[in-house]
């Protein structure tokens, strides 16, 4: 049994975000982190590994420096890592990205008992599209927004969250699951893991590694193969600052209540 986990290195958008004058993101000035939801997918895989002895393979598409993130995931307990990286893959939208990652997962191989896991969404785009699109490209059933996973034989029982409750879903392996933060609390790297993370297998899949997969076609990958294009990108204007009221006492509150009443807001 094998669990393939997709992870992404993302700019840390929770801190100060730098924007270039042309409206693009100044990535160079920002710290990078492992996408938070992806760490829940890693943790779910490691939990299943402890229960079943499964092999955990972590895969990421990105530029060569993403190796550091993959080594960190090995230090958390993954068995091996694959970086999918090539100039031809650059500029891919979610559709094209899912084609490429599906080809990489095909190369790693999805057997009858295997599971593919992803985070629900990445904090740079917040689309939540790549997981389901990989599942479609691999022809696997998917369960997204997983908050609990139990496994018995080849059957997984998954608590899938909705805004107003949840569904319990049964699905057989092979399948793809997207994970949310309610699923678990990601473990840290272990000291032993850090020592070993450069010893464990690490591979790079480039264009040549994947080019024989029918999913890899110049019309379906990279910027040119992406169905969606960016028409314009821009920064929103700051809403004009309003009025700072003087003081923070009863008079201030009375004044505010008076304004709200005059504007018929109360």
């Amino acid at each position: 049994m094998k669990i393939i986990v997709c992870v992404k290195q993302v700019p840390d958008t929770s801190g100060k975000v730098a924007v270039n004058p042309d409206g693009t993101l100044n990535r160079a000035s920002m710290a990078t982190i492992t996408n938070p939801d992806d760490l829940n997918a890693v943790e779910a895989a490691l939990t299943l590994k402890e229960q079943t002895g499964a092999e955990v393979v972590v895969v990421s598409m990105g530029p060569p420096p993403a190796e550091g993130m993959l080594r960190e995931v090995i230090a958390r307990g993954a068995d091996r890592a694959v970086l999918v990286s090539a100039r031809e893959f650059g500029g891919s939208d979610t559709y094209a990205t899912s084609q490429i990652l599906a080809a990489a997962i095909n190369k790693i191989g999805v057997g009858e008992e295997d599971i593919v896991m992803c985070g629900r969404q990445a904090i740079d785009g917040d689309t939540a599209q790549v997981g389901p699109q990989i599942a479609e490209k691999l022809g696997l059933p998917q369960v997204s927004y997983a908050a609990e996973i139990t496994k018995e034989g080849r059957t997984l029982t998954i608590k899938r969250m909705l805004e107003d409750g949840y569904m319990t879903i049964k699905v057989n392996t092979p399948c793809l699951i997207t994970c949310i933060k309610e699923l678990n609390a990601p473990r840290y790297m272990s000291v032993g893991g850090i020592f070993e993370c450069y010893e464990k297998p690490y591979e790079v899949f480039d264009y040549n590694t994947l080019k024989d997969d029918p999913l890899i076609d110049s019309t379906t990958i990279g910027l040119k193969g992406s169905p969606t294009n960016i028409f314009k990108s821009f920064t929103p204007p700051q809403k004009g600052a309003g009025m700072m009221l003087e003081g923070a006492d009863k008079d201030t509150c009375d004044k505010l209540a008076g304004i709200l009443a005059a504007k018929h807001l109360i």
Partner: protein, 370 residues
């Protein structure tokens, strides 16, 4: 469906479609919002607007969609569609799309819509833009939107060619630091998921509802198509807070940390006085102070109430993305440099535990004086 549908985008002339999500026979509010928005897009394209409704024994709720602007509804009724499954819904939607060929398809960005949309787009080989907050067809209207909502130079906006039938899908990226307008020029339908609560629901018109045409596509769905099995659907026991429908939202942030229960109680009292509900920043949800249904912001809900009160919320951009379009924003924060004051209509620099009780009294008095 291995053949790409890009061969002839002109063949996709079947109008604008809205996936109308229902759960247990009740239409989700976002379906009405998207029908209302879809009406505008269909008018700009000079085409028709259809809903597509999936479920079992759901025909009775279809015509109401006409009252918000749908010319017709594709009603896909089948026992295997009783509960939402990715497999069943994707197959029926993709089959129906390939038969009737819509130009545009909108889906509410609910937990279900965000599961279904990408799977359908991948099967149809078309583009999907996630979590849109603004949609345009008409270029002059789009330019006006950019003039009001972007910092782009006027010359750059004026230079956009006016001949363009593409759906222009605008969404926040990088937690709201950037906005991007996405197009899908080579494939159809152009697909978008749209954030619930962002589009405004139109006035209901009974005559239009009565005139709404119901179409029943052929459904080729069997047990063999179903790879996931829904064992049960459980509604949350606790009544969830309706942030999106509320006229007033009083939200709390990290500022309540010194007395969490006391802070929430003050927010509840203020909300009760204003006729609203309590929300929270991501910090309050991550700390377990409030349940996830209270979260306002990029990863929570988008709200635009008449009054939004931010108590002890610093105003991270992710939070602002979910509330900055509120009509009147009131912020109380100890730090005068808190970013929330940059967008607040009225700011009070002070301790929320001292200010809020006085504000409640002042509002009571102002109401009594009316």
């Amino acid at each position: 469906m291995s053949t790409f549908n890009s061969a002839d985008i002109a063949a996709f002339n079947g109008g604008v479609w809205v996936f109308c999500e229902q759960r247990q026979g009740t239409m989700m509010p976002t379906s009405f919002e998207l029908i209302s928005e879809g009406r505008k897009l269909a008018d700009e394209l000079g085409t028709k607007l259809y809903g597509i409704l999936l479920g079992h024994n759901i025909e009775g709720i279809a015509k109401e969609l006409g009252g918000y602007g749908a010319d017709g509804v594709y009603v896909c009724d089948h026992p295997l569609l009783e509960n939402y499954t990715t497999d069943g819904y994707t197959k029926v939607i993709c089959d129906t799309v390939m038969e009737y060929k819509p130009e545009v398809m909108l889906i509410g960005a609910t937990n279900i819509g965000r599961d279904l949309g990408p799977r359908c787009a991948a099967r149809l080989h078309t583009g999907l833009c996630a979590d849109c907050t603004h949609l345009d067809i008409d270029v002059p209207k789009y330019k006006q939107f950019l003039r009001e909502s972007s910092t782009l130079a006027p010359a750059m906006i004026d230079g956009i060619p006016e001949e363009d039938r593409n759906l222009k899908m605008t969404r926040p990226a990088f937690g709201g630091h950037l906005m991007a307008t996405i197009i899908c020029p080579r494939f159809r339908p152009a697909m978008a998921t749209v954030r619930p609560g962002v589009m405004k629901k139109a006035e209901f018109d009974q005559a239009k509802a009565d005139a709404c045409e119901l179409i029943k596509p052929t459904i080729a769905l069997t047990e063999n198509d179903m790879e996931t099995q829904v064992v049960e659907v459980v509604k949350a026991a606790k009544k969830l807070v309706d942030l999106i429908g509320a006229d007033v939202v009083v939200s709390v942030g990290r500022g309540i940390s010194k007395d969490v229960q006391g802070g929430i109680k003050l927010a509840e009292e203020l909300a009760a006085e204003l006729g609203g509900v309590v929300g929270g920043s991501r910090a309050t949800i991550d700390s377990g102070w409030l349940s996830a249904d209270h979260q306002v912001g990029q990863t929570g809900k988008t709200v635009h109430p008449k009054i939004y009160v931010a108590l002890g919320i610093s105003g991270a951009i992710q939070h602002k993305a979910g509330m900055q379009d509120s009509e009147c924003i009131i912020a109380v924060n100890k730090s005068e440099t808190a970013p929330i004051f940059e967008i607040a209509d009225y700011g009070i620099c002070g301790d929320l535990f001292k200010v809020t009780p006085m504000l409640i009294e002042a509002i009571k008095a102002a109401k009594a004086a009316k």
